[in-house]
Symmetry: C5
Subunit: 368 residues, 5 copies
């Protein structure tokens, strides 16, 4: 299990920044080869207060009758690889071409914008896929009768919302597209919490590592954590601003929706608060790690000093009694002639060694 959590720290793969070449005319749709190869899935939920239609469609022409019949139709496009489909949608719903370019060139900033009567939102849905942070751009258009959402790849994030619409969610069905757009954004924002919790647990582990372990892996962990934190924070701050724009744009709507949006904004603030407190905890981690490393240096030095200071004097004494001074003179090395000379040597050696050790013990070098 620890291994699983360890891998959370992986830095996300460098997003293939799908971007048209400098000098291309603005508003040109160019699909990046990576995305082009992925399958595209279009699912539709259309509903009125009484009825509900839900299905996957293959041909956009199936949409026209639904838009006619139901007051609210939600089309979710999963995969951005089909350029024809996107162009068709642009024409069908009269979408702005610059906004459509933003849908395809993922890595946009979260935002809520208005183009005439159609609103456009970009948000990021964080997910931990195999313990690697994946920030998926979700783009959304909504007008009077429709909501269009675009996902980079399949994910389960909309499942609970779909269930809510199908079973019971009266409010959702009544308040129609604007409320539905809010619900989509709210769901995306709520998806931050489990990811943040996982990172919180991971941070606890790193903190313990930094204080106790001081292995080189900790540096990489801290660095990767900081990077992921930065990504989440940036997304959260921008999402907050996006919600604020949404609330302002929704100013004409009924006040209940505004209360809901304010509540959702509060959630983004809470997310930011938690992430800021992570950041504050992380900021000191390198210092902690550094002092752990220095503490280890200290400990190694102590071992060396203790060993050297204990054996060196004994070695010197032994060397002295190995000297070849002429024993003819009684003044030269008289100890060598003593009957208990060897025992005397050992006493001397142990005395010196133990006095050294006692000195170090008094200095507290054996404590930690």
């Amino acid at each position: 299990m620890n291994n699983d959590i360890d891998t959370i720290f992986k830095k996300p793969r460098r997003g293939s920044q799908h971007r048209s070449k400098p000098g291309t005319a603005p508003g040109t749709l160019v699909v990046h080869p990576d995305l082009a190869s992925q399958p595209v899935k279009v699912s539709v939920i259309a509903f009125s207060e009484a009825e509900l239609f839900e299905n996957t469609i293959n041909n956009l022409d199936e949409l026209a009758p639904l838009l006619e019949k139901y007051p609210a139709t939600w089309v979710n496009i999963c995969g951005l690889g089909d350029i024809d489909l996107l162009s068709k949608l642009t024409t069908m719903f009269n979408l702005n071409s610059l906004a459509m370019e933003d849908v395809v060139n993922v890595h946009q900033r979260p935002k809520v914008e208005e183009y005439d009567d159609i609103f456009f939102a970009v948000a990021y849905e964080p997910e931990l896929i195999k313990n690697e942070l994946d920030m998926q751009q979700i783009s959304m258009f909504w007008g009077k009768k429709f909501v269009l959402t675009f996902q980079e790849h399949a994910s389960d994030c909309f499942v609970p919302l779909v269930t809510r619409i199908k079973h019971g969610g009266k409010r959702t069905r009544l308040l129609q597209t604007e409320y539905l757009a809010y619900a989509v954004l709210d769901t995306i924002i709520d998806n931050f919490f489990p990811v943040i919790d996982a990172y919180g647990t991971h941070l606890d582990d790193i903190e313990e590592d930094a204080i106790d372990n001081a292995s080189t892996v900790v540096i990489s962990k801290i660095h990767a954590f900081k990077h992921n934190l930065h990504l989440l924070r940036r997304a959260a701050w921008d999402q907050r601003e996006a919600m604020a724009s949404f609330r302002e744009l929704a100013v004409a709507s009924d006040s209940d929706l505004r209360f809901f949006i304010r509540d959702c904004e509060d959630h983004t603030i809470q997310i930011i608060d938690i992430l800021e407190s992570y950041r504050e905890r992380t900021s000191g981690l390198m210092d902690i790690y550094l002092s752990s490393v220095n503490n280890r240096t200290n400990r190694i030095m102590k071992v060396l000093t203790i060993v050297a200071s204990t054996f060196m004097p004994i070695g010197v004494i032994a060397g002295i009694y190995g000297m070849n001074f002429d024993r003819a003179s009684p003044w030269n090395l008289p100890e060598l002639s003593w009957k208990y000379g060897y025992e005397y040597f050992w006493c001397l050696a142990l005395l010196v060694a133990s006095s050294m050790l006692i000195t170090f013990w008094r200095k507290g070098w054996f404590k930690h």
Copy 2:
């Protein structure tokens, strides 16, 4: 006693972030299992200028006659586990369901909000329980005739306020619910001071430790202190903003109340000032610790160098006189044949050793 203070630095248990699953409809009350198991206690104080009623009640129906009779009724709910009771209150006092959700999902930001004619406030009451920082969310609703407060768990923080209402507190009884709401918030904010004082004493200790001791425990202490400081600071900053909103919302009230709120805001600013000065002191602590550690490395190195430099030359001299050059030649090791050769050796050895020691002493290595 020192041990008691030492444990102040404990990081607070990671708050069980009671939160409904992503995708849940907003405004749904879900009680976290941890809270559900706790007993719930409802106490009531109802008063007019002349009369006062105080009791613990088991049935919310007992409230209706009190609300009729008295101009001001304060209901304090201690424990958030009883979902039925909370729903009943929501209906009885016509509370907003999103605000009620905030009461249950503790870890909200401090704030003062208005929902139609009912005001909603969230605040944090810090307490040191067994030297561990506990930040309890206290939520409050107030309307024309009632004040509702919600505590996560029992605490003594309202005792002095209740006493003030019972004995003498004329102003409290006259100015009714809005003043009562102010008094509750004021009491909560005043509770920061003793906690801050305890942390101030703790910080003094850590500073001394960082300069003198440099044991590894200091790192953990500093880190935990920083974290607790961050929690307190965040709460204080948000509380300050909340008081500012309160003052603005109270703009219609009499000016005396506004003076009181401004005074209370001043207290939050003072709290923030003290916490900022702690932060400023803390910010340099890791550097201090680091240089203490490096200073210790220096001292260890000095011991090693002194020992090595003193004994090595003697060892070398002893080694030289232990060589087996052929004594037939008078040019080979003539010292060995001297009558006082051994004494000469000792003089040489002591000379070398003492000249080394004097050099180091001159360099000031024995000073510290």
Copy 3:
């Protein structure tokens, strides 16, 4: 003299934060036991353009006739221990009870506030008492005909102002209480400069210490300096804001006073500028100290390495010629039989040692 300056760095005694218990009704005057024991001295200066009265009084009743007779009366209360006197003043001059509470609970923020027609100001007067920074809270009320100032303890800061009023200061006498209030604040702010100068000299010393000495005392000095700097900066920033409020409140007054206040604001900005430049210089000091410590480690290591590298090879050579290989074989240790074997050994030893030393000298290890 150096010793005197050294002690400037002392951290101020932790202010006995006189504060009523949480839950006390706002506006209650509680005097801290420390203050209660100090003697209280009330001095009065009353003056018109023509006449001047100056004395110390024991009974507040002596004030009434002065207030009648003179257009401007300045009462300076030195010591905050006499609760009765303070209550009497509150009633006599119709002071706000919350403001009066701020007078007694020292450690308020500097501010200028208006309560109906009476103004209230809090400011800090820094002083170096026995080289320890003392920030005394000075509170002031002023109305149409009176100025009341409250000092925590006796100090000389108002002496030059009193002299100015007595001798010559026509402007002071003409412009009356508002100008007098300005003059009091201006005097307090001008008192920052000598203190700041003393700290500037102290900072120069610390900088030299950090680069050259690198003794452990430097850490404490830097830390204490930072703390004192923080106290001064906070006071200066708040004082600046207070002066700005003053200028705005004085908007009805004649423009000359506004020029004077702006000039005084300029002084606070200058103080802040100087303090910020100190802060900027301080911010790098710990880094400097750290690298000094590391440089010393380097030097110690060099000594060890030079000693070890010089003596070890000689020791090894000596050890080799101390071996007991059977001299029967001419291939074993032939050097031992040479006539000038011992001389040869010394040449070898000195060659090795000097080549080592030359290597290190070339590396520049002997330079610093």
Copy 4:
């Protein structure tokens, strides 16, 4: 290839800050000798919806008929060395002399300004020339019928734009000079992306180096990277502000152009976001490097300690059995007389050495 990328980190040559001497009258055109020696090339594209003229001209008089005939004329001056040509242009198009001075004194800040009916813009086009960052100032004037661009030296950045105008770009031809000015700025801003991508790859390399290698070259790399990042960030921030001014100045234009400018602003924000995330990653790199260095110190110390602790005791034992105590006494060095004394010695030596090694192995010193 790695070598190529390595050289990206080069700091840009210190821009020859062409600047007139202090005290020169403002608006004086002085060409720096470096620039004066470069050849100047003037290319013209003039077009209406139907027709298009493109050529390089040698004489400015050729411009007059083109300005008459075509609604939009774009003159691109490549090289700033010809003072006469610049003066002629100033008179011909009635350009502001202060703005013209900014064209020649390169290293201006990016900006968009209005002088009467003529607009003036400064922008920076980043390019990697031989892996060295080159920030070329591009200045632009535009009026109702003309666009003038000034480049410091030749570059390919306008090639795709020219192609767009020639082939198909209806919008460009219709919307005339203001749209053309936008297109020029948009092209310049889009040129940031490939440069940023190259630096992103470089940063990945540096991060790995800092963690693993810890060679001294890494410091220079990090430092140079930071510097280049700073240059790019400053240019990007200023460019963003310039686009905002442009949008405001273009307020009278049709809303489509405003949408385009907003889109371009969004691109600058994205550039800033990426650069800020680089900065955030860079900020921790020196810490990482420092702890890598300290970790290496640890490893070196461990080697020394292991070697010393293993051999020293054996040496001491050998020294002991090399002592010359008088063997007459049976108490002196009895081991020397044992039959298997030498074998006993080896057992003792290996025991001591292996117990040392096992101790260190247990401490985990052999792991990394």
Copy 5:
């Protein structure tokens, strides 16, 4: 030459902060003894479009006729020591006494203020005198017909401006005093560029030193550089604000002057940009230095470890063959009896030493 640049880093002498004692009445002119001893020089340039008068005067009475005759008179007072002269000027031109006090109490912040119809400006002119940064306060008053400038000491900064007025500068002569005031400020600001360039070259040197040299002098250099940078930055920021106030105050003037002032503001922004980029480069220097120092520690440790690890084993082997085990037993030290025992020893020793060296070489310890 390098030596000259090295001395640039000198910290400026602590400005003798000429300041009247706390409690002095505001507006009192007190000249600092240092300044009083300096000679005072008064030069006058008076001009109309047609005529020009330039001279040094000794008596202020000579001014009256000039003011009568010429529409614009510029009086430059060099030296602030003559209190009588200053008082006379105050009366003569009706200057504000608080502003006059600012002229004498140098170390004011740069600012542009209006006193009735007379404007007052403070600016700083940086100069490198013997490679030491000198920030001279230049104060200026201007009214309808006169410009007064005050310099602390003589400098050449106004020479080119005077030349411009004398020869040709029509604009200067036409636009009169307000333009002249602008020209003075513009000249002062342009004087920043050569100083900044010198510091830029110096910073390049320091960067190289920090990476390569790591001698202790580098710390002092970095610290002094930071300090000077701070002084320049503060002055530049304040000067920018001053220019902004100037532009606002000049709002009534013709738009050309406003263009010029905006251009001059742009220059201050450029100065700030360059200084900020220096700051950014400086901020990482201590880290670089620190890691250089640590890298050197590493290298020293490597030398020690290599020496110790190479010689210690040989020493131990030599010690072993120096043992005195009883050779009677064939099991004791049989190597000693071998014919080629000594050669065998050398082989063993070289094998051990070279295997050690190869190990370290493989670890890359010999590379740097």
